[in-house]
Amino acid sequence: MSLSICADCLSRLRISHNPRSSLAIAAVSLTPVSSFHSASVMAKNNSLVKSKKGNRAPESKYRSSQSAKMKKKTRDRPKPPPIGERRAQRHRIVLSNTNALEVPSLENWSKENMTAEENTGRMLGLDGALLDKLRDCKAFKTTQNWSLFRRPATLIRSETIQLGQEIEQVNHSQGKKTVRHLVTGDKASGKSILGLQGMTMAFMNDWLVFNIPEAQEFVNNTSSYAPLKQKDDQAQSEQLYIQPHLTQALLTRALHANESLLKTLKFNHEFPKHLPLKQGTATLKDLVQLGASDHTFAWPAWQALWRELSEPGANSRPRVLIAVDSVDHWMGPSKYRSADFKIIHAHQFTLVRQFLGLLFAKAGSSPPLANGGMLLYSTTGSNTPAFPSFGLLLNQMRARAQGLDPSAPGFPLPAPFSKPDTHVLELMSGLGDVNLVELKGLSVEESKGYMEYFVRSGLLQRPLTEISLAEFRALAGGGVVGELAKLGRRVTV
């Protein structure tokens, strides 16, 4: 039996302060209108009408099972995509979109206008050969918005120009000048893009580029590792671990991105005998190729390559850029375990230790690169692990940048009775040469140039005025570039 009122919303009960209208409402409210009521009077009527007309099938005397009447439907299972397809889809980098309007006056970014200050706040395009190299060294990321525009272009901001000037300084210096940068900033403030721009400029100047696009891979226990055999004199120090597949991946990126340059480089030092290379004719490209082709040779090949690049010899060496993204993951214990089930610290991995040793080189140590270069490491804003010791390290760098002496009373120190990470504390002795680049929001001029590019690509379909620009900048937390990009692509009706 159906209830005469709806059990869910009690729709017959209407409270009205107007006594005259209450009667009229009561008359109407007998037939509730909405179809989802559990006790619909209309539905009840319908069933009556149907039974009168005799449309319903005659009821059988006995209950019979329903399943006999129902046909079994064969379910078509969609075939899963072939192995690797979905991962490829996930990692695919799309650099062009034919739906976007072409921006006619887009200049290319090249070696000539690399550091031209009048380009600040303008978008400059990236052209063919450079794109291939950047793609090969995995400089592009899926989180960036390259797929929105007709062709890839990047915003030249003041930090880019500064980076370019430093690259030129290294080019002109005769010595082994090495510039060290640690880029930090909020989420979406353009840290990875600055790394990409650094790599672009390095490729323009024929530098050798090594890129680590995701530092987290080294510590999250998803790649092979093995203890490094130590010599007798090192037996007292802690156990180190190598990561053959990650070394192989690093060499593969380096090989494809720098192939033409590596071909021209001859061996300076004693030929590594345990590696199957042709004596005499082999170049550094063969060495890198060997490591890239087989993970068992990757670590010795990397060691031999690094020796060639870091120790001066008869043949001159190119300048080197090393770019590492989301370096904070290297500042604490990893997810790996040793054979006796102790947690392995990130600094016990040889590559991590080597790259961090380059950035935080102790005062008085020998120059890390044979012919100078740049180290461009950046932190992550969206996937930050909680490593307070690294936070302290950054605070110390900020204090140093403000001219605070390490012995001054206000200088940040580990909290008393806390247990700071000793591995990270060791890095603090090498902070002297590291330059902290803190990325903030774009300036008004830069944001204008950036948003204009969205307008001219047909993404932002309203004219850009001073008021709307100010609005965008306010909504984007003071011109944080990633947030501006989100506002620029938003469809406004």
């Binding site: 590792y225 997810k335 054979a339």
Partner: protein, 118 residues
């Protein structure tokens, strides 16, 4: 197919998953075994080389697993019963062993607490 401790595993299966199929290996033991042989978390059975398979099998051989472990549990219960302890008696009577109330919810105890348990 890879043969580990008498069982064939397909190559695309994760090692952690294969190890946990053995009676007597749970997540904690599995993590320790994998760390012992420096196997990372996302490694598949097909990625193991021959020496690693042999090492792993030798290590698993040395552990008390599967029927050996089941038999030991059996023997422990048998011993309790033979020495006439309270726990042994409770096992023999198919009743809870650890002081639970027996008024209503002892279905599992009835099922599992047996002297002859399989």
């Amino acid at each position: 197919m890879v043969f580990i401790l008498g069982v064939n595993f397909p190559e695309h299966r994760f090692i952690w998953r294969s190890l946990e199929t053995f009676f007597g290996i749970g997540p904690s033991t599995r993590q320790r075994i994998m760390a012992r042989f420096h196997l990372h978390n996302t490694m598949k059975v097909g990625d193991l080389n021959q020496t690693q398979i042999l090492d792993l099998t030798a290590h698993l051989d040395s552990m008390k697993l599967e029927n050996h472990l089941r038999r030991q549990i059996q023997q422990d219960i048998q011993r309790l019963r033979d020495t006439g302890t309270y726990r042994g008696r409770r096992h023999a009577m198919n009743l809870p062993v650890r002081g639970q109330n027996t008024r209503s919810q002892i279905k599992n105890a009835r099922k599992l607490n047996r002297a002859e348990r399989f």
